[in-house]
Structures are given as C-alpha cells and as structure tokens.
Amino acid sequence: MKKLINNAEDVTVEQLKGMALAHPDMLEVRFDPNFVIAKGAPAKGRVAIISGGGSGHEPLHGGYVGIGMLDAACPGQVFTSPTPDQMYEAAKAVNGGKGVLQIVKNYTGDVMNFEMAADMLRADGIEVRNVIIDDDVAVKDSSYTAGRRGLGTTVIAEKVCGAAAAEGYDLDRNAALCKKVNVKGKSMGMALTSCITPQNGTPTFDIGDDEMEIGIGIHGEPGAERMKVKNADKITEILTTHILDDEAYTRKLAEWDVDKGESVDVEVVDETFQSGDKVIAIVNSMGGTPISELYTVYGKLHELAEKKGISIVRKLIGHYITSIEMQGVSITLVKTDDEILRLYDASVHTPALNWGT
C-alpha cells in the first residue's frame, strides 16, 4: 500500500486537522467526537443541514461544509458509518433553533446511526428530520436488498437544501425539498481498479487486468456485474442507459411522523426521465481516474442525453464522491425544476463547491 498518510489506524483525524488549517475561513473541525462545522455556526434563525458517512469519499461530506451548503459533516472511520454521538454533538453545535435536517445516504449502517442520533436529539427537544438518499440504479429492487444506495444525488441534495436553508425554508419544507431531489436523481458507477483502505492495506476486491465492475458501490462493495473492460463510450452507454431507462422505483422509506411522534415507513416512487427534461449532471471520478478521462465520458453522456431529448443544463465534472484512489467513474443525473435550479445556482462557499457572491 502506498499512500500519503502517517497513521493507517486513523487517517481521518490527520486529514481533518489539515482541512481545518486549510479552510479556517469556511469551517472548523472538532474532535472526540469528530465533526466538521461551518464557520458561522450555529445556524441562527434557520434550519441547519447535517450530513455524514464513512470517510474515504472526499470531498464528501466535509468538503461541502461552509456557506450555503452543509452546516456540519460527520466523518466516520474510512468506509464506516459515523457514530450517533458525532451527529448528536454536531447537531447541538449547529442547531440555531429551527431544527436540523440530516441527509443520510442509504447504507444500513448510516441509516441506523443517524436514526439513533435523531432519537438522542429528540430526547433533548431538538427537531430533526432524516432524509434518505437512495439513487443508485445498479440496485434493482428493494425487497431483496437493503435498497438503493446513496450516490451523487447526495451532493445535489446537500447543495440545494443548504441554499434553501439560507433562503429561510422551514424544516418540513426543506425536508420535502430533499425528498423531491432524491426522487428526481439517479446514479450509477463503475470501477476499473479496487481501492485500498488504509486499515487493510490490500485491495478491497481482486479484479483482473481485463475486467471492470459495473454498478460498484463507493465502499468497494462488488457491483452488479463483472465484465471485460470496454472502451469509454461503451462504459458511458451502459451507465447512462441504466439511468435514463430506469423505471419507476418504488420502496418504503422511514419518515418521522410528527403527529405520531415516531418513525413510519412511507412508500416513495422515483420519477423517470422524459424527453424535455432539464438535468444537472455529475461525471464523477471514483478517485484515481484523472479529469481528462471524465471529459470523454461527459462527451458521450451529453450525446446520449440529447438523443433522448434531455438537456444537461448544469454539470459537475471532477471529484465529488469518491472511493479513495479507486479508478472508475460514476454518473449522476438529477431532473431539475425552477426551484431546484434556483437553489443550485445560489451562492456557495465550501472547499469543494464554490460559486456566486
């Protein structure tokens, strides 16, 4: 294993320390429990937005903390969901009295840890909504699996909900917006190589020199299909077709029922892509794939989308939700409407997304 790290046992802490030194204008980092917190916290008079998950997906989530996006991020160990005390302390630090929206990627561990945190916060009288992002079309059904995983739509949800909080959306409206983004967003990824977690020091999975993994998870979980390596156009076509042709996906997601004071399972159905749609696209490096190659993928994606009458009106091409140094790419398409576009375009100042005044 070759990495620019000092301590394989807990690289997250050293990386967070560097991040704190690098971006004192945008964020602070607290330790024991670990979380990244926006400079202006607490979020006085507005909803606070929190996310988190295992480390190793940088810039997700710490790189999205700052102005106009996340108020706090809770990084777990590499590829391991954070613990409830992290979210509990982070939420207490950023809550400005208008409640906390927790954006949670749909992995069993993340969901459970954020749920426990929400319970702890509610016991303290803090209003919390957990919204789950489950946009990975590589997972076909939800009755025989833990359901679709959270991928790139998370980034758009964090951006849009952060802007909505700044605009003054209240907690329920912001949670509803987050759910809307989730049912409009779909993603799928693939890997050419495996990542190596610092703790293990060896590749998470073996993959032949002539093989690729389609539908890979961002923790190096084996994907939906192993096949011979194909060229960039063909790979892009596989991913894009899965996303664009994905049929209405129905599943139950846990939601907080304010009246009942408990979590209830609610049926949620994804939208499908239609000719005429305007979308935000992410062409995302899994970490080790260089930017140059992402442009080849973008070129083909653009062509395929146009062919379906879908226009890409905004795009992110680079490193947004990674898997350490894995080589590969994931594509995310999020259908927009006026509200989503307005909020996406709003100013943001974080280490990884930075635009507007």
């Binding site: 391991t80 969901s81 703790q199 293990n200 998470t204 190096g220 979980e221």
Partner: protein
Amino acid sequence: MLTSEHITTWIRKSADEMRDNRGYLTELDAAIGDADHGNNMDRGYKAVLEKLPDDNDVGAILKAVAMALISKVGGAAGPLYGTMFLQAANALKGKEALSSEDVELLLKSSVDGIVMRGKAHAGEKTILDSLIPAHEAYKEARAAGAELIACLDAATHAAEEGMKATIPMIATKGRASYLGERSRDHQDPGATSTYLIIKTLYEAASEGDAT
C-alpha cells in the same frame, strides 16, 4: 448463576477474540461487504475495555458495553450490537448475578435489540442467523432441564451451526444484499462475530465454574 465477574470476563474474552479474529472477520467482510467488520469490532471492544465499570450491577456493565460500542464501532455493527447490549442492559438492570432464566432473558433481549434496530428476519444472512438459533437452543436445553453451562454449550453449538448455515444463504439485508446471488458461498461476518460473542459467554461461564 453468572456473577458480574463472569460477565466482565465474558466481555474481556470477547475483546480478545475480536482482536485475534480481526483479520478473519475483515476478510469475510471483504468478500461480501466493505472489508471493515473485524476492524470495527476490534476497535469497539478495545473501547469497551477502557469503559468497563467496576460495578456489580450486570445491567450497568452491559450498558457501558453498549455505549462504548455505539460510540466507537459505527457502520452497521455499531448500532446493532449497541442496541443489543442496551436491550439486554435494560432487561437485567439492577441484577448482581444472572440465573439460568436471566441468561435466557439476556439472549432474548439481545435478539429483540437486533430485530428492533435492523428490522431483519432469520435467513437474511445477518447476525440474527447465529443469534436466534443460540437463543432457541438455550431455551430448549433449559426447558429440558439442562444446567446453565450445558445450556450455554448448546447455544454455542447452535450459534456455530447458524453461522455456518449463512454460507449458502443469499443476503437480503445489509451491504451484502447488493450482491444478490453473488453473496452465496460466503460466511456472514456479523453472524461470525456473534458466534464469538456466544462462545466466549460459554467459556466465561465454564472456566469461572458458574453453576
């Protein structure tokens, strides 16, 4: 009876097993998950050892275990095992020693905790697939009049069988479920760590001459 010392020994023995099987559990997780289960459990039990209270209340001990696991493990295993110990702690609050019946309650509340948190059933290739058989074997042995240690022996064997029975299963919960068919032919890491937890309970009881 299992004294609070037996319980402390159990936890220490579990910690040793997690340390010794760190690589093994992680390997199992690499095959069908994300290669961290051994690291998670070892990190968690290390934290548990630091937080073990000098207390005769078994409930208090188990609660300390729960809180340490919840705040140090993360992933799926953290809230699952955390909730498991928390449920057991609630069920046994105030007890300074556990009767054979209490141990059955410990196992039952453990199952309840895992189900409550993870919403899985038997046969989904999870922790439950060694935990439920352990609980049932214990219950049956006790109903048939066996001694505490013999009941735990039966539970350990059932946990081991249950663990092995996860090999042909297709996972439908947790990270391994994404593999569908490809999750077959691999032993579930969580069912394996659960086996170690049951086995060390038996060992703590038998070595400590529990009656």
